[in-house]
């Protein structure tokens, strides 16, 4: 495993272009575009203020930089560096900005969710979408970029608009059976829209593309409900994580529950492999322990080495009881992620924040539990393989594969590089590790000649 040198970044703004060729990073008010293979700077753009949001267009030709405080959006072209575009939302303010899937329109959400402004870069035309709902995830584009679903709130009722992204034609407009819609998400095949209610009520609704209600799912009443929803890439399963520390899996034919994954504090199942991260201070330099399950690498002076140990069941997980009087209690499954082949599901339960649970979707059972030393910040699946990368806010990266678990020390010459979040390159060749104001690429072993 190799590491690049350290680059600067700010606001954790660092993204690889959708075609995987370029790497854009923001440093204060500057936007730097590098070639992924050589890491040479290709372009350097200067924005009017500190960039708060950055996004590539779908064709990897343009980069949008939003400065929310100033209500400004600037767009840069990679092919024509002197081309420029500036959108000013004026005093109405800017809350969020995103590309449309065709990469020729920009959707700006104004402050107080007054409206969504659609700016066309082709015609300079502006159109407004009124009454967007202020919620966790009120807008979603289908994966093929054809349709946009938008949550709307008017007359104290929730509605959903389905737009054709091609010409922003309103295809469908229907009321939903929700008290307070919290989010919506298209299935990866773009035919089903999953809609869920706010946490006060456990309710998940499934709508067809043409606005028909296909099914309603509610697991229980009264207590706090849905916390996270995720589709499997095959559109076959819908995983729903909730405040009762369980994940429920719905199937795509009957839309009924086919499995329920609990997150118990004690793991008794013999078939589950529990990896526990163990830290020890090693003053000596460089000895590499290359057993199957624990590989610690790049050990430097005075570093804390960590490795995984396999614990036989029963294993007691560290549990933090949340304060019941506080709002948004830290309990329940908040993060769900399917692997790219839909074979595995990774979950995180908020009151056991140092553990990541990996479930096998073929056997519908728990496969592995990764118990870290500190709280897990972020985890993401390799877009090509069944490989999970996670970070816990220290100078290490952790990888899980069905074969085993590895903890990798990020070389840290200057000190202070702590991995806050990570993203995979779209080919799974390398990981982008984001520190507080730095970033680093972590290259996976591509062949035996590197080892």
């Amino acid at each position: 495993m190799n590491f690049s040198e350290v680059f600067k970044q700010s606001n954790q703004l660092c993204k690889v272009s959708p075609d995987g060729k370029y790497l854009a990073t923001c440093v204060q008010y500057r936007l730097v575009v590098r070639d992924v293979s050589t890491l040479q700077i290709l372009q350097l753009y200067t924005c009017l203020d500190q960039i708060t949001h950055m996004e590539w267009s779908s064709d990897s030709q343009f980069i949008m930089c939003a400065m929310y405080k100033r209500g400004l959006v600037q767009v840069w072209s990679l092919e024509q560096p002197d081309w420029h575009c500036k959108i000013d939302e004026g005093s109405i303010g800017l809350l969020a900005s995103r590309w449309s899937p065709d990469g020729r329109h920009i959707l700006n959400t104004t402050e107080f969710h007054l409206r969504i402004t659609v700016w066309s870069l082709c015609t300079k035309a502006v159109s407004y979408i009124k009454y967007p709902k202020a919620c966790y995830k009120g807008i979603d584009f289908s994966r093929d970029g054809c349709y946009m679903a938008l949550a709307e709130r008017r007359d104290c009722k929730d509605y959903i608009c389905v737009f054709v992204c091609d010409d922003w034609h309103l295809l469908r407009h229907f009321e939903t059976e929700t008290q307070d819609l919290a989010g919506l998400e298209w299935s990866p095949n773009g035919c089903i829209l999953a809609v869920w209610d706010s946490c006060l009520e456990y309710k998940v609704l499934l709508y067809s593309l043409d606005g028909r209600l296909l099914s309603t799912f509610s697991a229980y009443e009264w207590s706090l409900g849905v916390k996270a929803v995720a589709w499997s890439p095959s559109s076959q399963f819908l995983a729903i994580g909730s405040y009762d520390e369980k994940v429920r899996i719905l199937n795509h034919i009957t839309w009924k529950k086919i499995a329920m994954f609990e997150h118990p504090a004690t793991i008794n199942n013999n078939k589950v492999v529990v990896y526990k991260e163990v830290e020890k201070r090693v003053p000596a330099v460089g000895h590499e322990d290359l057993s199957l399950h624990n590989i610690t690498m790049g050990s430097s002076l005075l570093s804390t080495q960590s490795k995984y140990e396999i614990h036989p069941p029963p294993v007691q997980m560290p549990v933090v009881r949340p304060d019941p009087d506080r709002a948004n209690p830290k309990i329940g499954v908040s993060t769900l992620a399917f692997s790219s082949d839909s074979r595995y599901l990774a979950t995180k339960n908020d009151n056991m924040s140092s553990a990541v649970w990996v479930w096998d979707m073929q056997k519908m059972s728990l496969v592995a539990v990764l118990e870290q030393m500190s709280a897990v910040r972020c985890f993401q699946w390799d877009p090509r393989r069944s490989r999970l990368a996670l970070c816990t806010g220290n100078a290490k990266v952790y990888l899980w594969t069905p074969a085993g678990c590895v903890s990798v020390q990020v070389p840290d010459e200057a000190g202070g590089f702590q991995v806050q979040s990570l993203t995979w390159h779209c080919d799974g060749d390398f990981l982008i590790l984001l520190g507080k104001d730095q970033l680093r690429l972590c290259y996976m072993d591509t062949g035996p000649e590197e080892k």
Binding site: I92, R104, K130, C191, S208
Partner: protein, 580 residues
Amino acid sequence: MTPISLLLILLCIDSRHISPDLRVKDVQSISVECGRPRMTGPLEPSLLQKKSSCSLSDFCTENNVQECVSHINQEVSSLGLPPVWATSGQDSDMNVVSVLNCMYELVQLHRRGLQTLENMEVEQLKSSNNVDSLQLTCTRLKEQLEVSKRENIGLHERERQLQLKMKSLQNCLKNEKEEIHKLQNMVSSRASQYNHEMKRKEREFNKLKERLNQLLADKKEKKIAIDVSNKLGRVDGKRSLWKTEKTEAKHEGDMYKTLLGDYESRQRDLLLENAELRKVLKHMKKDMALILASRKSSAKGDRHDDGAIEVDSEEEESFESSKDTVELFSGHTREKLTSSVRRQWRRLKSHVDRLDSRGSWASSTGENENSAAISRDSSKEMDKLKQEVQQCKDYIQTQQHLLQQQLSSQCDEETSVMLGDCYMSQGKDRLREEWKRLQEERKIFERERRNFTEAAIRLSQERKTFEEDRAVWLKHQFLNFNPFGHSKKATRSKSQCSFQISETSPVESATSSPSAGRAASLSSSTCDLLHTLSRFCDNSSTKPKRRTEDAGDASSSSAEPKRWISSDDLMFPQEESGSL
């Protein structure tokens, strides 16, 4: 021995013997007073008095021998012994024999008395011990009784307390339930209130939003703007369309198309899965039928319900035959199938149960005897079974293979859609192959044509040189000789020359295309060549039909070579060759 001493002895023995009952009462007194005889009768006080002071002589003295004798006599007779002596006789003649007998009797009596006394004592000891132990157990039992009584009371008390507690808890529960109910009511009322408030707030909020929008619109803010250096083209390169009903309809159509596509793919998946499951079911059914049939044949003579089985099997067979034709597709057959499978399954289960019970019975009875033989048998059986399993596996594999082949080649009967697709693709494949073949043929033709044109070029060059030669020769002849004598020669040489060419050309023309042949025929000198060519083409009847047709063309063109020859077409082949 004096009679007095004798009397005394007698008395002693007698008195000791007389009152055993009295003495039994007190064991201690016996042991204490063992040596002291207790007297009954009128003499006793005096005797006792005398005893302490002096010896036996006190009872019988010289003076009272008579009395003593009578007394003794009395005593003895009372004991049922013959009198010591006759009362009628004088005191002096005492019958010694009888006295001794009497004494002996008395001694015997005394002994027996002692014996019984001893026995009695032992028994008494035993019984007293018994009494002691009984008393002990009695006290213990009494204590136990006390304890259990106390415990009983305690338990009663506890029960009472528990009942009290239960009552209080029940009350509590009731209260709690009420509380819960109340709270639920409260929660729901609060929720409704909250919802109401929310709605009110939201309305206000919306009003504010509207107002803000209005204000913003009124203000006509100049700042809201887009500044693009030059407009971009759309990704697809098309121009945006006006929104018309047509586009709307198109959008709808697209949407339904995607939906339909999704449903179709899903249906296809389901069909595949169904086919797979059906296959499994078929196998299972067959296996079950096989197993049941074997069982039936083995248990033919059993006392079990033979008749029922017979009926079932008949039904089954009828069904089996129908299944092949109907392919279990209609609802009726499906029902039939499920019921038959269920029936078979039930029978199989009972069969297995019976086997189990029999097996356990056999193991329980035949464990001790010939276990070795059984194990040998079973191992043999196992081997056989394993072999069979292997065979079956092979069979299944080949069957699966065949099924898959069938599926891939012509699809299942039920998937008529896929069948259609398959045919289409087959047709496509065939067309593609034909197309490839045609392409190859075309290539060959091309090559031939090229060869032919090359030959033609060469020919024309030769002809050119020949023409030049002829011109030179003609000039020469014109200048020098009489033209009439040599003209024949020239034609001959020309024909010779052409013949030479025709000799060389067939090698190439055999493979050359007819179009090239036509080009070649244009040359004036190739009249003969054309003849040979056409002949060659006519001869080559083994060649493909099309080629012979073309060859026919060539021959037809060769039917009028004179026009071509007559026209001055020197340039034509050159042009042709240039274009080629």
